[in-house]
Amino acid sequence: MVPRKQEPEMRSKRPRPREKTIMIEERYTTDLPTAVGPSSSEPKQLSWSRLDHLCSITKLLVNFESADDTLSAVLAMVSNTLPLRSTVLIDEIDDQAQVSVWKAPGVSEEALQTARNHAATAYAYLAGSRSISGKNAHFAREKLVDFRLEKTSRGGENFIVIPLVVNRSVYGVLQLECTTVFNESDLAFVNAIANQFAIALDRHKAKHRELDARVEAEAAERRMAFLAESRRLLASTLDYQAAWTNMGQLVISRIADICIIDIMESDRWSADRICVLSPAAKELVTAREAASALANTMSTVLKTGASCVYPDPVALSLKSNAARAGVQESAASADFIKSYACVPLLFEGMTIGSLTVARTRSVTIYGDVDLSILHDLGICLVMSFNRARLYRTAVEAIRNRDGLLGIVAHDLRAPLTVIMGFTNVFLTNGRPGERLSCDPEHIGAIHRAATQMNRLIEDLLSTASIEAKHVLIERHLNAVGPLINEALERMRPLTSASKIELRSELLDYISPILVDRERIMQVFTNLIDNAIKFSPRASVITVKVEQSGNEVQFSVEDSGPGIAEDQLPHIFDRFWQVPGTGKKGTGLGLFIVKGIVEAHGGRVWAEKNVGVGTTFRFTVPAGKSDINPFTLGE
């Protein structure tokens, strides 16, 4: 056999006359093998020789391994009895027709092109007419294409086109070109070979389909095992960062050299990144370099929510053409990345992060199967992240509750001490039968202690109803002056020890406000109580009120140490405490203030005073005197 001359792969689009377009790939053109086997010099021995060849060819086809190799051997035998000039094999697999061409020495490229065209046209015609049967296998060339061959030195040329048919369906053609005209005997011989070849080829394909299916099934099994292992890793701990690092290691060991998991923590406005590198990748880059090389890809995926893969499979199919045309293919963002795939991490329809894998070795590139594995992994990742987040929230809630319980216990004990202390003295000091008389100041202390305890309980209940968004507001028209005066009177006893002065300033005539009196009183007492806690001795706390449009604005101004700018956005959060001053209460006071004010349709905020101290302001809608308060009070 003559060694084949391999040509580069080439693809071109060739329209088929009817239903579909098939891609025709010409694999190679080979010189026709020189004749082997029994000599065919004697014409009378031709039939016997052909029978002999058929027998050898049948044996060859039994051990069919590759269409091209087998056909080369077959052609070597055929050329003993037929003066072959060229042979074209078109073999279609999944809409992809592969063309192999053999040629005799000295055949011009033009003649060869004619043979190619002839075969392709014949195939298009045959494949288009699905009802074709083996009987119509021989076509007169004039019917198919109008071609004129220059006479070669060896005389005229003649084509025979045999469809490769299995189950009445044409999947290819075998075209032989001879320098002589085919006679009946030639036709029968060639037909016999082609039929055997077609059957062998089909059997071969079936075997490969089965093999492919098995390979695919095994890959699917491995993929399931991989996903199962990932799920097990992710479920093994509530610390999602540790679980993700373990999973990154697993990914590295199976499908990547670099694995990067990015996730946005919505409550922290920051991204968590886990980057795992294989030992091979570590020799090339650091985790930081790997992440920065892929940063653009990851941010695009984060923005668009669509996965992406490099090299692009569509671009890849054009790559060889581009390479041949000398077009420089656009490189990945860094040399060391040969292929990558990146999928978004989705939670409740939002893209909350990305999962990226990359290879630093160009052994295999990522494709659809990898993307689908990554999507499945992504779902597992998000589930583990969400589970960790729920757990963290639950732990935080429990810690807050425990903290609150401790504070409540502490804050109830202080007034109880006063009550129990004084009452014990009264109960144990008197002689039997003696009527006890009490110091009014002690009674006042007991009353204040009880009031303090009651306020704490009300705070707890208010918090519960604000949390449940169930603040019951019974609106009535209230004059502003008496409201403020009562609030100040209620709080005045708390200032006796610290000599703090409580003042009020009513700037203008203020409309009555349509509010729940007790609730607004709670707002005032909480704000004033806060101010008292943080004000120096003998300082002044001023409550002001002014009207602007349909709103009435109240302010409570103190001369305490003030609140740091960075704390201002958090002061109305539940359990917020002034940092660094030790716990001075439940941390619920301002949360309640906000809840009540907002339930009235107002706003509340705090400002740092120019000099010293803090001013808390809140608004409530001004009431109109013609409103019937009872209908709105519902």
Binding site: R413, G421, V425, S437, R448
Partner: protein, 141 residues
């Protein structure tokens, strides 16, 4: 004032276990401070009442009390800060003066913390005034 003394102070034949003892109290809650003062005075003590650690330290130097009663949770400086300051003072000037923590923190850890900080006694709020007096008496005997 005389009326009140007559009504709330036990007659002279009552046992007054803290007679001639000077006790320094620091407590930020004015009503609790008033109650502590009342109970201890009733039992004969000479009470120096303060509501901040700073004031307490000033009075300590001046009054040289036999016992200190201190709240733990107070704004600015707390009871631990007070006892640390007192222990820094020379023994001749009262650095070893016995001290009792009076606090609403009631866990075993709080108690250990108080004892390791230098408090010799520990009373949790709320308390029976008799227990308070007994604790002080035991400490100064």
């Amino acid at each position: 004032m005389t009326d009140r003394e007559a009504s709330t102070t036990p007659p002279n034949d009552y046992h007054r276990p803290l007679e001639d003892r000077r006790i320094l109290i620091v407590e930020d809650d004015s009503d609790t401070l008033q109650m502590l003062k009342f109970v201890l005075e009733q039992n004969g003590a000479d009470v120096v009442a303060t509501d901040t650690v700073k004031a307490a330290l000033e009075q300590f130097e001046r009054q040289r009390p036999d016992v200190i009663l201190a709240d733990i949770a107070m704004p600015d400086l707390n009871g631990y800060a007070l006892i640390a300051e007192v222990r820094r003072i020379d023994a001749e000037r009262g650095g070893h003066t016995k001290a009792i923590a009076v606090t609403a923190f009631s866990t075993e850890r709080d108690r250990q913390l108080a004892e390791s900080s230098g408090f010799k006694g520990y009373i949790t709020k709320p308390f029976d005034p008799r227990v308070l007096v007994e604790t002080v008496v035991q400490l100064i005997q």
